[in-house]
Amino acid sequence: MLDTKKIIPDFPILGKKINGKPLIYLDSTASSLKPAQVIRAMDDYYQRYGVNIFRGVYKLSETATEKYESARSTVASFIGSKEANEIIFVRNATEAVNLVAATWGEVNVDSQSNIISTVMEHHANIVPWQQLVKRKNAKLNYLDITEEGRLQPGQIENKINVNTRLIALTYVSNVLGTINPVAKIIKIIKEINPGVKILVDAAQAVPHMKIDVNNLGADFLVFSGHKMLGPTGIGVLWAKGEIMKDLPPYQTGGDMIREVYLDRTVFNDIPHRFEAGTPHIAGAIGLAEAVRYLDSLGMDKVRRHEEELAEYALSNLTGMKEITVYGPHTAGDRAAVVAFNAKGVHPHDMAQILDRDNICIRSGHHCAMPLHTRLQIPASCRASFYIYNTKKDVDLLIEGILKAKIFFE
């Protein structure tokens, strides 16, 4: 496992006590904590060279521009891409999906088209497609899951046809924890219909495992900085250059132009064409630092650490009476996120009781209402683990759950 004794001191929040007790943070799926290295990198930008990019020839502006663009390269190589211009900085994964829907979708989807998503998606990978098919009078279909919470095999072959334009699917479910065999699925899809584009929601994958876009076969990949030790307000759309280079812009204005005349505009090349206005410069710099932090740990080690925690949490939770655990019960194809319900205790009440001991879990539908409907539950509790979590945290969670059960008995 990772050396958490070395990692934990890097996270200022974990050194603080609330009501005299330490923090047990089990909600990294919603947003991870940030190490001092990331906070310092952003602070450094504001303290030492906090000026705009691209616009000045003076030294400070050149420094800021260089840092912003090198952040792009850092992020690109983190996901295996050699083309920094295939990285478009956005606010978050949600905006990345919306960008694809508003540009690629606008041009390539018509009333004959269908798009395929899955019932295990986060709303971010459902609602933008619902809106697009509504505008275009197209169709949106969904892949279903098995009782174990995996995508049902064989369905792709049945749902895909010549009019399928896009498959939008998550790499890792933010509720079930299922790690979808994305590369295999994409291979099947492209064999049936090579024209289908694939958008992978990697918001829960990039922070937790080695991703290589070259082996994946996807056309678009989206993720958020704040879930991978980075700041809020910065996210990434990776998109193949050949797809993006001729698409209409997302937003228009400054920075995304080459020439502007009173009656027309020549748009800039990718990625700048899709980054209108002053971007989140400090955010990109912070994200690059987060990437360096994860790289220094090694993503394979991060994954092994989380797999062990997932295994430990699953074996403890599935052994408890009157606890239902959702998603696959095998840690091998599962991320370190565990959704569950305790009989007789509503998830809100569970989260509130756990908060008495500073144990932070999430309760509700976790932006996956269709999935909860599919599971026939209104809500669930969700605990998730990251590089700073230990088996002790799992033990405390189990103790807390038992306390809550007794309280509501």
């Binding site: 809100h348 009440d349 509700g364 209402m369 809500a379 309280f407």
Partner: protein, 131 residues
């Protein structure tokens, strides 16, 4: 420490008053909490007829649905409180009413749970204005 799980809250959660559904209700309404997917449905029987407008009173009320201790206890207390009240009085109720019925303080997120029942009832009442 939070003390939202006072005895009166837990009692109303474990044994909610007015739980169920009225047959031949005059008005019915269902509303969800967007944060958690919880749903509360209410059914009401009123005195008088449409002509009396907001002077009509609540003769009986039931609620059902799924929810946390806060939303169920609140629904129990709110439905009990509004029995016999006129529609005008009901529309004048607000978050302070609910909080004083519950006797606890709530964070913004849990406040949404607490207010769901009143919101559902008030939406139901609004139907009678348009219907």
């Amino acid at each position: 420490m939070d003390d939202i799980y006072r005895e009166n809250i837990l009692d109303n959660y474990r044994h909610p008053k007015n739980f169920g559904k009225l047959v031949n209700a005059d008005i019915e309404e269902e509303l969800g909490n967007p944060f958690c997917g919880d749903k509360i449905a209410v059914s009401l029987k009123l005195t008088g007829t449409h002509k009396q407008g907001v002077d009509r009173k609540v003769r009986d009320i039931r609620f059902n649905g799924q929810g946390c201790a806060v939303s169920i206890a609140s629904a129990s207390l709110v439905t009990e409180y509004i029995k016999g009240k006129s529609l005008r009085e009901i529309m004048a109720l607000n978050r302070e009413t609910v909080l004083s019925l519950m006797g606890i303080e709530l964070t913004p997120t849990r406040l949404k749970c607490a207010l769901l029942s009143l919101e559902t009832v008030q939406n139901a009442v609004k139907q009678t204005f348009t219907g």
